[in-house]
């Protein structure tokens, strides 16, 4: 209980605030120790390089090492970059293969919101509607459809007219049969 009270800025508070983490005494003390070590190493290096014989040798050695390091970095960067790229591509491929992107998009993406932002008018303006209509009309055998429908309508009308005429014939025949006292028609 007491230990917890002595630590008002607990680990959770430090972790949740990165700026406070940098101001933590442990961090600052560690950084200070590192800086002191670097300063000491620099001062030691400068002091050694000022020595009569050893300084010149050390300076040449450091210069040669630096040049060698630069050469290695210069010639070794491209293969390393290619290797890293290949590995990264392979990893991405494996991840994509393991993921169901369709389900992922369906679950995680608000498609309605995306679609609502689409400028439909701009898309329609880019479409050649007249050309599209002509292509559709070219694909449809319109004369054949008109011909078939016209033929069907005409045939229906003619059939109806003929049936009406036949019924009228029978009606007139029946009328004359009754007028002349005949029992029925003998065609």
């Amino acid at each position: 209980m007491t230990g917890r009270r002595r630590c008002p800025r607990g680990y959770d508070a430090v972790v949740t605030d990165p700026s406070a983490l940098l101001r933590h005494p442990i961090v600052t003390a560690t950084v200070g120790a590192g800086a002191l070590a670097v300063d000491s190493a620099s001062a030691a290096y400068r002091g050694v390089t000022r020595l009569p014989v050893v300084g010149a040798q050390l300076d040449r050695g450091v210069t040669a090492l630096t040049r060698r390091g630069e050469q290695v970095l210069h010639h070794g960067a491209d293969p390393v970059r290619a290797l890293i790229t290949a590995v990264a591509v392979q990893i991405v491929d494996e991840v994509l293969a393991a993921l169901d992107l369709t389900a992922l998009v369906r679950d995680r993406v608000d498609i309605d919101a995306v679609v609502s932002d689409v400028d439909i008018d701009a898309i329609i303006a880019r479409i050649d509607l007249v050309g599209l209509a002509n292509q559709i009309i070219d694909g449809v055998d319109l004369p054949s459809i008109i011909r078939e429908s016209t033929t069907t309508v005409t045939a229906d009308v003619m059939t109806d007219v003929r049936a009406q005429g036949e019924r009228a014939d029978d009606m007139v025949s029946g009328l004359f049969d009754r007028m002349l006292g005949r029992g029925g028609r003998a065609e």
Partner: protein, 154 residues
């Protein structure tokens, strides 16, 4: 005797067909007149004047045209334009196509005595005077689309 597919047509269908045929002949006469006008205009444009055929000439032309039209149609197919529209057909004694001589005689009889068609309404077998004289019949040129009321089995 007639089969159900070849019932004899009555006065209404045949009268309607006759009216249509009269109109067809009139249109043909009008076409002949227009053609005659263009011929005269083409051969003598300066002396051109619209021909004014007399009533006798016009009547004679109508009768001749009607006779030719009916005879040719009946001899070729048994159907005039009016007959096609009303769905009837002229057949001979054996329910076949008319012979050319019968077609010409029937055409002459119909043009000379058109009122003979009225006998169709009176005759029990729906025959016109021309049909009785020449032994022809006018039948429906189709299967029966609707059952006729009061029709007897034939």
């Amino acid at each position: 005797m007639t089969t159900p597919e070849a019932r004899t047509a009555g006065i209404v269908s045949r009268g309607a067909a006759g009216i249509v045929d009269v109109l067809v002949v009139l249109v043909a006469l009008a076409a002949l007149y227009v053609g005659w006008v263009f011929l005269r205009l083409a051969f003598s444009p300066r002396a051109f004047a619209f021909p004014a055929p007399s009533v006798v000439f016009s009547t004679f032309g109508f009768l001749v045209t009607a006779t030719l039209y009916l005879a040719v149609c009946w001899a070729v197919s048994g159907c005039t334009v009016g007959a096609v529209l009303t769905g009837v057909r002229v057949v001979g004694r054996t329910s076949g196509r008319l012979t050319p001589a019968t077609a010409v005689l029937r055409a002459l009889a119909c043009v000379a005595f058109p009122i003979g068609l009225a006998w169709v309404a009176v005759d029990r077998r729906r025959r016109s005077v021309q049909d009785i004289l020449l032994g022809t019949r006018v039948v429906y040129n189709r299967a029966r689309a609707t059952p006729a009321p009061n029709s007897l089995p034939t």
